[in-house]
Amino acid sequence: MNDKKIKEAFALYRKNWEEDLPDDRQLEEIKISHELDRKVRKLIRGKERKIGGNWRIMLQTAACIAGVIILSAAAFIVLEKNGGDPTNIYDNPINSHGEIPERPKQDSENPLEEGKDPDSNAFEGEVLLPEAVPVGFVMTGVDGDKAYIRHEYQTASGGFYLHISQIFKDVARPLDLQEDYCRKVSIKEGVEGVYYNDGENAKLIFEYKKYRIHLEGDLFLEDFIEIAQSMIK
């Protein structure tokens, strides 16, 4: 029996198999848990590998940790003997450069207004904030020549940071497109962004009207695009 015949028969077998599958609409109804999505994301960006049975690696790791603890303790004792609180570098008479460090001014001006309501009219309603649950910190304010907002969100698929900055004409920069780990993606007609994925973090950066929007977090590209689309009118 030759391979060509068997191959043809297998092609028919697969064709019949496909016909037995539920149609696209029925497949679409199959639910995938966020837990599975999260586990697979972790797998893709950094695989979990259990090494419980490998005593040599475990012992090496333990030895490294013990070494770091011993060195830290030794450094702490030496600093304490020299006087001052070793945890406070400003109480130490001499720093590593042989100088007495200056204390920072207590009344230095902080340009950030922490805790400001992110729903304030900072973006003149041109960019909508995501509907995800905001967690963590909020900062709105001015950094040099850019107005910005930074916020941490949580969705069922994972967490992400949102950073919006206003683009002033004189400081506008083109979006970086480094071939190695980023590529252009389309968010909506006429709105393109750059998707970065260096294996550790994934980001989507795009510009809309006079704003540069930066999303960064533990999400798949399609999640980022969905969030980005929800922010554009």
Partner: protein, 175 residues
């Protein structure tokens, strides 16, 4: 248990490729796993384990979105789900008959109208012989690639392919 997160995927191109495969087939993988395992949480474990297997065999997946890619994903999912089913059965020491209703009979495809005799024989092939033979003849994979994808030795792959061919040639296979 100490767990480390190590990057298994070397390049961003591969990372993109596997991400696309996951999004394209995750529901199909779960459907196949559900047919074999019958339980939601086990089916999701099977999808996860299939993804590990696919990452390890990324080089065997050639053409993006092709019929061959889909067949490869389906075969690996089936193989992983069956392994999981066997493990689960021994772990839980349950009566095999509890599960029989969810295991697809190897003749489920065979219930269709057969186009020719050979197809009928393929449908009657035991899963352990069909998968390596299909991967070899239909997908054109080497014994090494099949061994890695099915988590068996190369020797076992060669033997199963040979037995599969013999099975297809036998007249009595049809009876």
């Amino acid at each position: 248990m100490l767990a480390l997160y190590l990057s298994l995927i070397e390049t961003n191109e591969d990372r993109d490729k596997i991400e696309k495969i996951y999004h394209r087939y995750k529901k199909l993988m779960k459907y196949i796993a559900m047919q074999i395992l019958g339980r939601e949480e086990l089916a999701e474990d099977a999808v996860h384990d299939t993804m590990v297997r696919l990452i390890e065999n990324l080089s065997s997946i050639k053409e993006e979105g092709s019929k061959e890619e889909k067949a490869f994903v389906a075969i690996v999912t089936e193989n992983v789900a069956r392994d999981l089913w066997r493990k689960e059965r021994y772990r839980r020491s349950e009566d095999i008959t509890d599960y029989l209703h969810v295991i697809p009979s190897r003749g489920s495809v065979a219930e269709k109208v057969y186009v020719n005799e050979l197809l009928e024989r393929i449908c009657a092939l035991p899963e352990t012989l069909r998968a390596p033979l299909e991967m070899s003849v239909y997908l054109g994979l080497s014994s090494k690639e099949i061994a890695r994808a099915l988590n068996i030795t190369e020797e076992a792959v060669r033997k199963r392919i040979q037995r599969g061919r013999e099975y297809l040639s036998k007249e009595e296979a049809l009876s």
